[in-house]
Amino acid sequence: MTSLKRTPLYETHRRHGARMIEFGGFELPVQYTSIREEHFAVREAAGLFDTSHMGQIEFEGPDAIAAAGRLFSRNLAALAPGRVQYGLLCNENGGVVDDITCYREREDFAFWCVNAANIEKDHRWILDHAASAEGVRDASAETGLLALQGPASAAILARVGAADAAALRHFRFARTQVANCPAIVSRTGYTGGDGFEIYLDSDNLPQVFEALLGEGGPLGLVPAGLGARDTLRLEAALPLYGHELDEDTSPLAAGLGRFVDLEAGGFIGAEAIARARDAGLSQQLVGFALEERGVARAGCAVTLAGETIGRVTSGGPSPTLGKSIGLAYVSAGVTEPGSGFQVVVRDRALQARVVETPFV
């Protein structure tokens, strides 16, 4: 068994009563009290997530920036300093190597926040396609990341001395101080609601985590685990790499066309994606809700009149809606909201209907 990595907050999580699980090679909290409680705290007040397992890769200098631009699915040249964009890294076949956020800090400095399980793969992917390794650096080990999510997040940031960051607009970021520690704060997240992501020196993580909980507690802030992170992102219909996205899946099939700039072109995979678009997609990602009791999980088959027409990539109960929801790749013809199909859960075909996403 390979040993699991721990973030600098491991002891802090245990002290707060977290139950730990494996995710992306890391031992991380799945919940502290209850996934439902943490979920509703984020929807109604705020939750604090340790997302330090995620990776950061930096690009410094014109050559490194140019290399990043050839791999990123959007027009990095047009991304102004102080702005962050979600986008994809694609392979030559138009499949997805990773889904990332790209931060443009200065003309000659940018960094990517990448999925934990893909850090090494992405780094290698960059080096394989860059003219040189100069200016490309994996900063994951020394970079900590917290996600402060929910409607009370801005007020909480103001209470820990980061009023400037609390005033950021969505998809903007700035260097500032959080609880007297240097930080990059970005108004982004993975819950479908308002929130911030806070990049820190990993040594400062425990101090800032406790300061946020201390100041945020009176406003309803609770520590939140991966369980709530997953139910929140599912309600928002945000993809999870390895579930909705992988190296054989087109971003267009995943409904991510708006994050793929085929006009600016030039990025690896753009031609294959354009060809796939012109040929027409055989499968498309849809959101569905179960109309019967039960829980659809990743891997369940989707059927229509007994014939398999797709598969569930993510599924579970929606705490907000009080019913089971999921994301599934299905054949053309049943992708419109209102279309019906069945999801097979333990040999039982449960009736499901396509609904608009995000679910909430």
Partner: protein, 131 residues
């Protein structure tokens, strides 16, 4: 963590409890099980009249994150199911030894009950598992 393990019940190694009454047993999941599962969102129950063999899966319990089989602690016929759980599976989180009972079985072999774990033996199993 602390787990309630009432002395008067029998237990199985897969975290179910059995309460023996005159001519039937009541079955549920333990406090340890409900804490491990977390928020329970769905319980799949057998039908009254179903014949169960011991260790055979008779249902499924699902929390937000996890799915777990329910296994028959003893052989016998299902004589009652807790229909309250269909609409309110969270009763198991709130009261796993009371209102959160799952099924009642009329056992075919009384001796199977005696071979279940007592509270002390179950405590030992749990103390090794809880890290």
């Amino acid at each position: 963590m602390d787990f309630e393990i009432p002395d008067e019940l029998y237990y199985t190694a897969d975290d179910e409890w059995v309460h023996a009454e005159d001519d039937f047993v009541t079955v549920g999941v333990t406090d340890f099980a409900q804490q491990q599962l977390g928020d329970i969102v769905y319980v799949e129950l057998p039908s009254v009249g179903d014949q169960l063999e011991s260790d055979m899966a008779f249902g499924v319990i699902e929390s937000v994150k996890a799915v777990s089989d329910l296994n028959a602690p003893v052989s016998g016929q299902v004589i009652e199911i807790n229909e309250e759980l269909v609409d309110q599976p969270e009763i198991i989180n709130e009261e796993c030894y009371g209102a959160g009972w799952i099924i009642r079985i009329k056992p075919t072999d009384e001796e199977e009950i005696e071979s279940l774990l007592d509270a002390d033996s179950y405590r030992k199993i749990i103390s090794k598992r809880d890290t």
